[in-house]
């Protein structure tokens, strides 16, 4: 298959503009480009960042999404300036086409730098650009929304990255849980854990191994803060275990061990990244039974893939919400110990 080619069909930029001027520029760019006559869209994607560097990174990721999620993308830099700075917006607009094997999909990208009090009312800036009939997804690459953020009322779904937020400190998982109760949330950290979850689940397929899930004795989850709590919380709730049977330990790489007893035999089921190699090793070790091992290359972890995966769903991710609730239970149990 040919590599897709992204072409810029037209662009416009100006400082200190009104929303109406940006709308007019966008319309004008489409008006003068026949390839933009038909646009297929599945969503309006709004990324909110604080710096130009974050905006560049977000735009690069959105470009890589390419034809998979044709959307109108707005990258908003909510400039963190003086509290009484005057309102103002600088804008840049691009109409682009991604072409592959003779087919072109058109999409639009807007970069808006918002200053002053208006940055606390981004809903009023975003709504005029929202495409009709498709959901609006708000992506916060490095933060969680503050309580009462009006932008969340305009959003159909919010994409966060609990790992990136955790690096900045704060009780991310509790805040994510409270957010997920109000709005469907996709967490890119959770998306990255998908391959671990599916490999672990795969170890219990088949009549021989499945019964071990009914008699789990102990679970050990290692890894960085966010992943180990999310995986621990997921196992706690899915396997209906008491918190005392889930052990969490800090480690550089993720590993999950499930110890269980079935039919009087002990079994250990392990999925782990043991070293610097980008490989995941899974093992099944059943007392008096098979001892199996498999090593697979880790899937590519491009940010655009995690984002693409987050954008394929539209409703609540109930399993994630369960994992968040489980993670909170584990933290509370730790506090009580």
């Amino acid at each position: 298959m040919e590599e897709p080619v992204v072409t810029t069909l037209g662009s416009w930029e100006a400082d200190d503009v009104t929303v109406a001027q940006v709308e007019a520029a966008l319309s004008d760019l489409r008006h003068h480009e026949q390839r933009a006559a038909v646009r297929t869209s599945v969503l309006t994607l709004v990324a909110v960042v604080k710096t130009d560097a974050e905006a560049d990174a977000a735009r690069a990721i959105i470009d890589e999404l390419g034809g998979r999620h044709p959307s109108r993308a707005l990258v908003i830099v909510a400039v963190d300036d003086e509290p009484d700075a005057p309102n103002g917006t600088d804008a840049a607009v691009w109409v682009r086409a991604i072409e592959r094997e003779g087919r072109a999909v058109c999409f639009e990208q807007l970069l808006l730098r918002v200053r002053g009090k208006a940055r606390h009312h981004l809903d009023s800036i975003v709504e005029p650009f929202a495409l009709p009939d498709v959901p609006m997804v708000v992506w916060l690459p490095a933060g969680l929304p503050s309580p009462g953020d009006p932008l969340m009322q305009a959003a159909n779904r919010v994409v966060v990255d609990s790992r990136a937020v955790a690096e900045a400190g704060g009780d991310v998982l509790t805040r994510s849980l409270s957010l997920a109760r109000r709005l469907p949330v996709a967490d890119l950290s959770w998306m990255r854990l998908e391959q671990w979850r599916s490999m672990l689940a795969g170890l219990f397929e088949g009549a021989l191994n499945r019964p071990f899930l009914q008699a789990v004795d102990r679970v050990e989850v290692c890894g960085n803060h966010g992943p180990r709590y999310l995986l621990g919380g997921w196992l706690l709730r899915r396997l209906e275990l008491p918190a005392s049977r889930v052990e969490l330990r800090p480690a550089e790489h993720v590993s999950v061990d499930v110890h269980a007893v079935s039919g009087g035999r002990r079994g250990r089921f392990r999925v782990a990244r043991d070293g610097a190699e980008r490989e995941i090793r899974s093992c099944v070790d059943i007392e008096g039974g098979p001892q199996l091992e498999q090593t697979v290359r880790m899937r590519q972890q491009w940010p655009s893939l995690a984002l693409a995966s987050a954008l394929t769903r539209v409703g609540h991710d109930e399993i994630y919400e369960e994992a968040l609730a489980g993670a909170r239970e584990l933290r509370q149990a730790e506090g009580g110990r």
Partner: protein, 509 residues
Amino acid sequence: MSDNPLAEATVERVAPPAVLVVFGASGDLTSRKLMPAVENLALRRLLPPGFSVVGVARTEMDDTSFCEHMQAAVQKAGGGGEEAKHVWDSFAGGGFRYVAGDYADPETFKKLKDVLDELDEQRGTAQNRLIYLATPPDTFPVVVQGLARCGLNKPANDDAFVRIVIEKPFGRDARSAEKLDAIVHEAFEEPQVYRIDHYLGKETVQNVLALRFANAIFEPIWNRRYVNHVQITVAEQLGVGHRGGFYESAGALRDIVQNHVLQVLALTLMEPPSTFDPNGIRDEKVKALRAVDILSPEEVAQNVVRAQYRAGWVQGTEVHSYRDEEGVDPHSQTETYVAMRLKVDNWRWAGVPFYVRTGKYLPKRVTEVAMEFNRVPHLPFAMSQAEGLDPDALVLRIQPDEGITLRFGAKVPGQAFRVRSVSMDFFYGAAFLEETPEAYERLLLDALLGDPTLFIRADEVAQAWRIVQPVLDGFEEGDLPLARYEAGTWGPPEADHLLDRDGRRWRKP
């Protein structure tokens, strides 16, 4: 007059020699809309060489200053430039005349008659007149009567024409509209009267007709069997600005619903006309409006929501409450938002609700007709596989980004079988790469050419008031509480309840 064999098969017809007489020549409409339209028509070579303009207003001015004033106004409105210079040079040579005077003074009309006679002689305008009332509505009767007294209402011979263009609003209510019509008809025959609603001059409003009646795939599903409900939205992102004084006496129902919304509704509802001639289309529009059910006072309370904006944020700017606007009563009960649920009693639409809404300071400027179709009778997927699937919808977008959008379900690429809605969007402007004429340009040319298709006939106005009057009565009798909404939102919660009750919700256009 016989047809011009050379004009046949030309794409655009040039207007016949004529004088455009504008009452209210010093007003906003003249400088912002009419004169830019005249300049554009001249630039597109659609005006004949002797075409002339006579402005009439109270303000004292001579011909030269009127011409200069208009040229400056057109430049301010985005026109002018090097290309337009020769247009204004040719107008400056006697093609722009001005008559200052009071509309109630017969002398004003005598002076106007003299100027028109001079123009016929000097510029060959052949006694053809297009009279444009760009004045406040309360002056319409006095101007019409003044014209009649001087004989300026009748064509001088069989080959000449006198037409009068009347701006909306056509009355303040059913009774005043009827009275105005009677006054107009005392002086002018109905075929001479061109009631203008500039919405009808918009290319995309006309495209509703093209989409419906030039395609075999849409019309078969354009009925109650397939359509679940229709939503018509005319949303404005601006507040009342400096028009607070005017708006206090109008409100959203009179300002937008009685004309723009009902015109769009009529084009959506109407049956296919047998011919595309003026009466073919207008007859069908009248029939369609006649089928709209009249709300009883109890039904008004249940099916209409009126509201007024509070302070809020619109497009990144903090805005005042309506009651704090210039020229507005601090306790004003005037509505800046109306939502209605209408019922249509005919074979095609029985049982299909039409939800219409309009408002100021909504999140974006958009006019659209959205038809939401019935869901499939059985969905062979698990709930989790189709969680992002909404019913199919066809949306006719009238402004901005004029075009059509089709929403339908598609499989999400990947191994899992998940279905979600996608939106396929067709943008007229980009498909044809033609500059579309502004609404006033198009309508002015049609009026000069004698094509009333896109103008509103007396019986259409009467039908529109028939629908609106009971609602207006409900407002005026205080039967309907005034809700409030935050500027920058899609209206009050009461409007959401109007659809919630039917298990539906408003679109975010």
